[in-house]
């Protein structure tokens, strides 16, 4: 490429990253005095939108997932113009999957929402949201699918269900949700002049909904007024949280290095974003981010403002925005109210059915602290759960002490007075207090102790739930790290995980496997053993080859680690899950160590099935895979003659699988030794040893399925160790018996 066109290209790309109105000015400045260059660049820019359309249309023929997130960010301006036109009217009345679009009911930053009708399996109206930005449809849907199981578990009156996801014909992702009609929560409260107490009661319901989701391991990530709508059910306002699972599915892929600036332009809503979401890494998001966003929502419900002004945040630029969210303390809600201009204050107070001074005094104190605790920059200081936040508000409504402030004596006393107004109002009746003083304080004491006990129990339960949610996010992190090839870090994070989800995503299973394998290749057996054991415990979704291979690797790693107890547990698990199926690989993995009588008994049905099936096997490498386990099985049962007999069966492809050949020699060596044939045993042992040692001289590699994976070779080396300890080739006297 010549320097001229290089210049042209650089200028074009720079111009494209600018908003449309600024481009002309940009070109004027950069091409000053070079009319030819300016004309050339302008021409390319002009062709750009058409080019995109052209490729999109061509893409429809090959169905390439059009434009992924990065390109989309780069072309945000031009892009959204094109797509808006494409999307609005032409699709009305048309079908998207099995849904018929009836009417456009909303449009937001990231998508257009349609009223749509589904006819199968039930006829119902739904909300269908088409994601507007040019995102990589496939990965959006894949990420949604990963969450789908968890989403299906959510069942709460204040949560709108997400039914389905898919791709439109133009290749854009769409989501289908329960149809919720109603204004956003802030709008509803203002229009109906709800007072502070009514607002708090609605808000508590929102907290409970979020709590429910957190218990199912789902983080919303995008809590804001437009995602919480209020509908009337039998005349009662019911808040509904929508868009669960969508923020996660549509957020930019943060694994891609160097693309943050582009991606984070459209992830999240700045005013509602927690400091950790705004953070450059952006990955470390957990349930407490939602608590922060709830805090912002509460702030807005109470004061009509968000803690930081959205417009200011956006205009200050990305770095400044991050700094604000990370470092700047917001004003107390009551302070925010007092700093409003007079007219604004009157309106805000009026919408809350209160006089300005009353509103300020309502907010001052408890509500200030509750909001600030939810908004703490350090998530460790926020409410640990949404329920905790709801409980504290409930305490405020019940005039009980809130936990949001470190309780001081006068504060508690103030509350006590208010709670027991009658007793204290009869202030003059000191005598009464004196008379029953002792009884009363004892009563208070017990009541308080009981409350504390109940609270501690609840807290402990919540701690487990929180730990589970945290573990989920740790697993997600590990998945990302594995994707980046950072196995060491992934292994460290997985070490901290206590609870593995019962129904994990495919991603997390494969991350667990990759990390286990990586640890095994470095012969870090204890850690590898933990990873693999966790893997087979959750890996029970069906019968496929991968699961058999996981069992084999797990058995090998546990045996290599030399932990007889863990290996015994593994064997029980294998028997429990595979006693009926005919799997040679799993069976073989159970024979790595000597068996006790109970274990022999447990494995017998598997052995019998495999033995019965042997003559019917197709004539291929599979026969070898059945011969070896049956040899070793008879050896483990003490039937050495049968072991030798099985080893002598003629099978096709004998010798084609090197670690299998080594196993064959070693099993024979041990059996022959037991039968008193020392010379023969020593010769077989020598052959087996040679094969294993030649392979395992250097560092362990992953291997190949056709010539032996790493675990096949470790299997052989474990047998070699056992055989070496048993067969004493130096002594002339062979031992007899078992």
């Amino acid at each position: 490429m010549n320097p001229e066109s290089q210049m042209e290209e650089a200028l074009c790309l720079a111009a494209l990253s600018l908003p449309v109105p600024l481009r002309a000015q940009f070109l004027d400045q950069t091409c000053a005095g070079d009319a030819r260059l300016r004309a050339a660049v302008a021409e390319v820019l002009l062709a750009h939108a058409d080019a995109e359309k052209f490729f999109e249309r061509g893409g429809a023929a090959v169905n390439v997932p059009e434009l992924d997130a990065q390109a989309a960010g780069l072309l945000k301006e031009a892009e959204s113009e094109i797509q808006l036109d494409d999307l609005t009217d032409e699709q009305l009345g048309s079908r998207v999957g099995r849904y018929q679009l009836l009417q456009k009911i909303g449009e937001g930053g990231c998508g257009v929402v349609y009223l749509a009708e589904q006819d199968k399996p039930v006829r119902r109206q739904v909300a269908l949201k088409v994601i507007k930005l040019g995102m990589d449809t496939k990965s959006v849907i894949a990420r949604f699918e990963a969450e789908r199981q968890a989403l299906a578990l959510m069942d709460h009156p204040n949560i709108a269900r997400v039914f389905d996801a898919g791709a439109t014909e133009a290749g854009r992702p769409f989501f289908v949700m329960e149809l919720v009609r109603g204004p956003r929560i802030t709008q509803y409260c203002d229009e109906h002049n709800l007072d502070t107490v009514q607002r708090l009661k609605l808000f508590i319901q929102v907290c409970r909904a979020i709590q429910h989701a957190h218990q199912k391991g789902i983080i919303h990530r995008d809590i804001k007024p437009s995602n919480i709508l209020v509908t009337l059910q039998d005349g009662v306002p019911v808040p509904k949280v929508i868009d669960f699972g969508i923020a996660k599915a549509t957020e930019g892929r943060l694994t891609d290095h160097g693309s943050f600036t582009v991606v984070d332009q459209f992830v999240g809503t700045p005013a509602y974003m927690s400091p950790e979401q705004a953070d450059i890494s952006g990955m470390d998001v957990d349930t407490r981010s939602d608590i922060y966003s709830l805090g912002v929502l509460l702030y807005e419900l109470l004061t009509g403002k968000t803690p930081f002004d959205t417009k200011m945040l956006v205009e200050s630029g990305l770095d400044e925005m991050r700094r604000t969210l990370r470092e700047k303390e917001p004003q107390l809600p009551s302070t925010m109210i007092t700093s409003l201009r007079q007219t604004e204050l009157t309106i805000t107070a009026g919408q809350r059915h209160a006089e300005p001074p009353k509103l300020v005094s309502q907010l001052k104190g408890d509500l200030d602290w509750i909001v600030m605790k939810a908004l703490d920059k350090d998530r460790n200081h926020r409410y640990e759960t949404a329920n905790g936040l709801a409980l504290d508000i409930q305490r405020y409504l019940d005039c009980e002490p809130v936990v949001a402030r470190p309780p001081s004596r006068p504060y508690r006393f103030k509350k006590l007075v208010r709670r027991n107004k009658v007793v204290f109002a009869a202030g003059g009746v000191v005598a009464l207090a004196l008379l029953i003083g002792l009884g009363l304080s004892t009563w208070f004491f017990f009541r308080e102790r009981e409350a504390r006990l109940r609270e501690r129990e609840a807290r402990e339960r919540e701690t487990v739930l929180l730990a589970k949610a945290e573990d989920r996010s740790k697993i997600t992190q590990a998945v990302m790290l594995v994707g980046q090839g950072k196995f060491e870090e992934a292994a460290e994070i997985l070490d901290e995980v206590k609870y593995f989800p019962a129904s994990p995503t495919l991603d997390s299973v494969s991350a667990l496997r990759s990390v286990g394998e990586w640890l095994a290749l470095q012969e870090r057996w204890p850690q590898a053993a933990e990873r693999y054991f966790a893997l087979v415990k959750i890996d029970q979704l069906g019968n496929n080859i991968q699961i058999y291979l996981d069992y084999l690797a797990c058995g090998v790693v546990l045996a290599a680690n030399g932990d007889a107890k863990a290996y015994g547990e593994f064997l029980n698990l294998a028997v429990a899950n595979f006693s009926r199926s005919q799997n040679d690989t799993v069976f073989y993995a159970c024979l790595l160590r000597p068996l006790n009588p109970a274990q022999i008994q447990a494995l017998k049905p598997m052995a019998a099935t495999l033995e019965r099936r042997f003559p019917t096997l197709p004539k291929n490498i599979v026969t070898v895979w059945n011969q070896l386990p049956l040899c070793l099985w008879h050896y483990r049962c003490g039937d050495y003659g049968a072991a030798i007999e099985w080893s002598q069966r003629e099978v096709p492809f004998k010798g084609r699988f090197p670690p299998g050949v080594a196993d064959w020699y070693l099993i024979r060596a041990m059996s022959l030794y037991r039968l008193g044939q020392l010379d023969e045993a020593c010769s077989e042992l020598a052959q087996g040893r040679q094969l294993v040692e030649a392979k395992l001289q250097g560092s362990l590699d992953r291997g190949r399925p056709d010539v032996g994976n790493w675990d096949d070779w470790i299997f052989a080396s474990i047998l070699l160790k056992e055989a070496t300890a048993l067969v004493d080739c130096k002594s002339a006297e062979p031992a007899t018996g078992g």
């Binding site: 490429m1 074009c12 750009h48 080019a51 061509g58 169905n63 390439v64 160097g258 190949r704």
Partner: protein, 187 residues
Amino acid sequence: MSDITLVLESVRRGERQATEELFPLVYEELRRLAAMRMAKEVAGHTLQPTALVHEAWMQLVGDGHRTWENRAHFFGAAADAMRRILIDNARRKAALKRGGGQQFRVGLEALELTAATPDEHVLLIDEALNWLATEDPEKARIVSLKFFGGLTNDEVAETMGIGLRTVVRQWVYAKVKLFRWISLQNR
């Protein structure tokens, strides 16, 4: 264990040339998969390169074998194979649509760009890509991998050993260049 793993292995060890060796193997598998797909679905079908290429990878190489060098070689060959399949397919469909056995020729004077069918778009892009390959081979490669191979930006970056941002920028610019060339040719 299939031949392809052995080829990949020897490619990785530097014993053989990557694409020439791989192409026929990958092409056959992709064609088989595409044919199955087409047989199952009704008219108006599309071939999804991403799905096909990844499926071919699973079929031919399996999951156990995940070294990046191998994937890069494989994807390179797969994008070429996929391009040929898509072009063949588009030619056939375009010819059918234009009523009769005659082959669709890219660059017909009568062809209005805006009126062209998606399949014709593909043919035009293919032709323009041949031009770009002589002009700016790196960009042409990116387009081929992304458009015909259905690879993500990450995979393209990985396959070509270049930065992700470079991929994104080159892809944007390449599209404009191709489009302008096509417009000039069909003016």
